[in-house]
Subunit: 108 residues, 2 copies
DNA sequence: CAGATGTACTTTGTCTGTCGTTGTAATTTG
DNA sequence: CAAATTACAACGACAGACAAAGTACATCTG
């Protein structure tokens, strides 16, 4: 329905949100975004995994490998304290962004 | 306050909105964005003028030069019918984008 | 039991829009 | 008369998203 390009800059906080409660991995995050938005937003794999790399590089998440009983072990990600702070900061910024754009977009 | 990078993809409809009523030119558009958002968003000149070029290339606006009695003649832009339609389409898309992001950003 | 489908990624290269920098030229203000 | 403001234009850099393709293992289907 909508593309990641539009969400640009907000993929990171979206991913962090889904890690707030418990660690997760790529495929699960992808499924969650799909279902939560009722398929309105389907994140591309490349977008998702490059977001993971960026977030880890910035210290907002940490990776560890799960010990799956069968199959390839997944790479799990856990949010860090810095990640929680970054999420809050981005949330606040999003409120301002909405206000700004809503001055110019009047949908009737 | 906030950067164009965040607004990315919505500069075009913002500009089109400001042309809905009457033609305008770069500097005026820039001032209007500043004042309407109470300085929360100040568009960069390069961003603005490259948006004009893109919008004109896509047939959403047309340029003409004003006949100022003094000073350099300004380049004015007028929105086209296609531009109005594009604006509406983007407005609708924005509503969905807001919904999508608001599923993940809970600001308390 | 072969092939399709689903899970779970990784790599590479391309494109678009924004940004920093610099430059120009005329007008207005102190 | 110098500095600030108005009003652009050209250039190259960069980050994030995208398309395309490949890897590997597991499970379901005819």
């Amino acid at each position: 329905m909508i593309s990641s390009d539009i969400i640009r800059g907000y993929n990171d906080p979206i991913i962090l949100f889904l890690l707030l409660e418990e660690p997760s991995y790529g495929y699960e995050i992808s499924r969650k975004i799909r279902s939560i938005t009722q398929e309105k937003y389907i994140i591309k794999e490349t977008t998702l995994y490059s977001a993971f790399n960026r977030l880890e590089k910035n210290g907002y998440i940490e990776s560890f490998s799960g010990n799956e009983s069968h199959g390839k072990p997944r790479t799990y990600y856990r949010i860090t304290q810095a990640g929680r702070e970054y999420y809050l900061q981005k949330s606040h910024e999003w409120q301002i962004t909405q206000e700004v754009i809503n001055h110019f977009i009047i949908d009737e």
